[in-house]
């Protein structure tokens, strides 16, 4: 073996160690959460966790259904608000706006992603919550408030991935459509969007992952009552809020139950990420 080859081997080996250490952190977290969270789930039965409606940790009642429903509700709400807005912005910025305008607006949208979530929560608490309370009734701290804030927070993800997948649609499709006498909007609706569909869906799922995992902003505007919300104006507690709110003082089985909350969250996010990966690789193959 020459000296150069030895050198290469050394570099390869050290890079391997570094890469593995990054991955092993992920593995340790996974093992730790499951190790801490699953025993209690089997002790009390999976059913009582997933379907139980009462969360009274001091009385050994660990029903997580309100939080599961709560997470799904605010996530769905966030998608109902963020996806149409995000998709419309992406279509405008790629197909209709002047190129110079896009060059200014796209970085601005990406900047939205850099604002700390506590700032979103603060703005929500100061403006959105009173607005909802005064105009629609209820305490203001609500599913609606959380959905609106999350809907805005997922915009950068939805918009930038949608822009990338719309840009990836070959111009030859657009030319072919225009040359047949189609309008720009017909071209977008009937050719460009269907061609970009799987990328757009992957972006939506990543946004969904962001919404379901967001904690701080949600805690600040959601009200956090551990009940299944009766309307969109009622307060709601999500899985992430449940952990963040109680971890500071939890001990014993209460603490284990919060890890169990983490396990459920982990599984939901794994499922979403897998779907996102599968859809985006499918698009690349096409």
């Amino acid at each position: 073996m020459t000296k150069l080859e030895k050198n290469d081997r050394l570099v390869k080996l050290s890079l391997l160690v570094i890469a593995l250490s990054a991955i092993s952190v992920l593995a340790i977290i996974t093992v730790f959460i499951f190790e801490q969270g699953t025993p209690i789930m089997f002790r009390y039965g999976l059913k009582s966790f997933l379907l139980g409606q009462d969360w009274y940790p001091s009385e050994k009642s660990f029903g997580l259904l309100p939080m599961i429903v709560g997470s799904l509700m605010v996530t769905l709400g966030a998608l109902l608000i963020g996806v149409p807005l995000g998709l419309a912005s992406a279509i405008f910025l790629t197909e209709f706006s002047h190129r110079r305008l896009t060059r200014i607006l796209k970085p601005v949208i990406e900047l939205l992603a850099g604002i700390p979530s506590v700032v979103y929560g603060f703005i929500g608490l100061m403006f959105l919550v009173p607005f909802i309370r005064n105009n629609f009734g209820g305490p203001g701290l609500s599913v609606l408030a959380a959905s609106l804030i999350l809907g805005i927070m997922i915009l950068p993800t939805v918009i930038s991935i949608a822009i990338d997948s719309i840009r990836a649609v070959p111009d030859s499709y657009r030319e072919g459509s225009i040359a047949l006498g189609a309008t720009r909007w017909q071209t977008v609706r009937m050719v460009v969007l269907p061609a970009a569909r799987s990328g757009i869906i992957a972006g939506i799922i990543l946004g969904m992952g962001r919404a379901i995992g967001e904690t701080m902003a949600v805690i600040m505007v959601a009200g956090n009552a551990a009940d299944i919300p009766g309307s969109i104006l009622a307060p709601v507690r999500t899985l992430t809020s449940n952990i963040a709110l109680e971890m500071a003082y939890a001990s014993g089985e209460h603490r284990e139950a919060l890890f169990a909350t983490g396990v459920i969250l982990f599984v939901i996010i794994m499922i979403l990420n897998t779907i996102a990966n599968v859809t985006s690789t499918r698009q690349r193959k096409k």
């Binding site: 070959p170 030859s172 030319e175 040359a179 047949l180 006498g181 309008t183 050719v191 061609a195 096409k286």
Partner: protein
């Protein structure tokens, strides 16, 4: 031109600019109905720009300006009152690389009809049959009309793109190097198809391939650096070119 046949397109003093660059200068040219007109010339000579002027596809290019007139059936297409969507339906275009939409074969064919507001299932089905028949694809594809068009071979895709165009009943078919992505056998078959189509349509083809121009066209124009150097019957251009530059090009001394 004194052949007495109908000129479907008349180009008068056409100038096209990309920003400050002048891509075409003072082009004057008549295109006769039901004939194949070939445009030849080296890369960057303006022949594709010229073709794209005829259905105003240059409008899509930022910074592209046009002066002069293109009369399509006597009316200037640059007139502000021109119905652009209708113009592009009547003057259709086939591109260099086959560009079927990533939709089913059937949806590709009916696309043009649907964007022009035709949705009657019976009508669409009949057009589907007619158009595929016209490009000799019906027998091959009739059992897989709902397959994705991207799964077809390059030649089938290009035929499909021609069929997609024929479905909207154009009068003129502009072809921008339609065979450059195809092998020689497929090229020959597309050329045969052009021969058949000439009965019902006017064809203008841009080609890099001089043999192709000589084989298929009735008239040939030679472009060089944005000028139309020579235009005339294909026979004459290839056997006794009047301009020295044309002669250099077709004999292979240049280009």
């Amino acid at each position: 031109m004194s052949t007495g046949r109908k000129n479907i397109i008349e180009v008068r003093n056409l100038n096209v600019y990309y920003g400050k660059f002048q891509a075409l200068s003072n082009i004057n040219l008549d295109i006769q109905a039901n004939r194949i007109t070939a445009l030849i010339g080296p890369s960057g000579c303006g022949k594709s720009t010229f073709l794209r002027a005829l259905n105003r596809m240059n409008d899509l290019i930022e910074g592209c300006r046009t002066k002069g007139e293109v009369l399509f059936e006597g009316r200037n297409i640059f007139d502000p009152e021109t119905d652009l969507l209708e113009l592009r339906r009547r003057v259709g275009m086939v591109f260099q690389r086959p560009n079927p939409f990533p939709l089913s074969i059937a949806d590709n064919i009916t696309y043009g009809l649907r964007v022009h507001g035709r949705n009657e299932p019976n009508f669409l089905e009949e057009k589907l049959y007619q158009s595929l028949q016209a490009v000799n694809l019906w027998e091959e594809l009739k059992d897989r009309l709902h397959d994705n068009a991207l799964r077809l071979t390059g030649e089938q895709q290009q035929r499909l793109c021609i069929a997609r165009l024929l479905a909207v009943e154009p009068e003129v078919v502009l072809m921008d190097e339609p065979c450059s992505a195809l092998d020689p056998v497929a090229t020959a078959r597309i050329e045969d198809l052009m021969y058949e189509l000439k009965r019902d349509y006017t064809i203008v083809i841009v080609t890099h391939n001089m043999q192709q121009a000589a084989r298929v066209s009735d008239y040939t124009g030679y472009f060089l650096l944005g000028d139309l150097v020579e235009f005339g019957e294909t026979n004459q251009i290839f056997t006794s070119p009047r301009d020295k530059r044309t002669e250099d090009y077709i004999t292979g001394r240049f280009g």
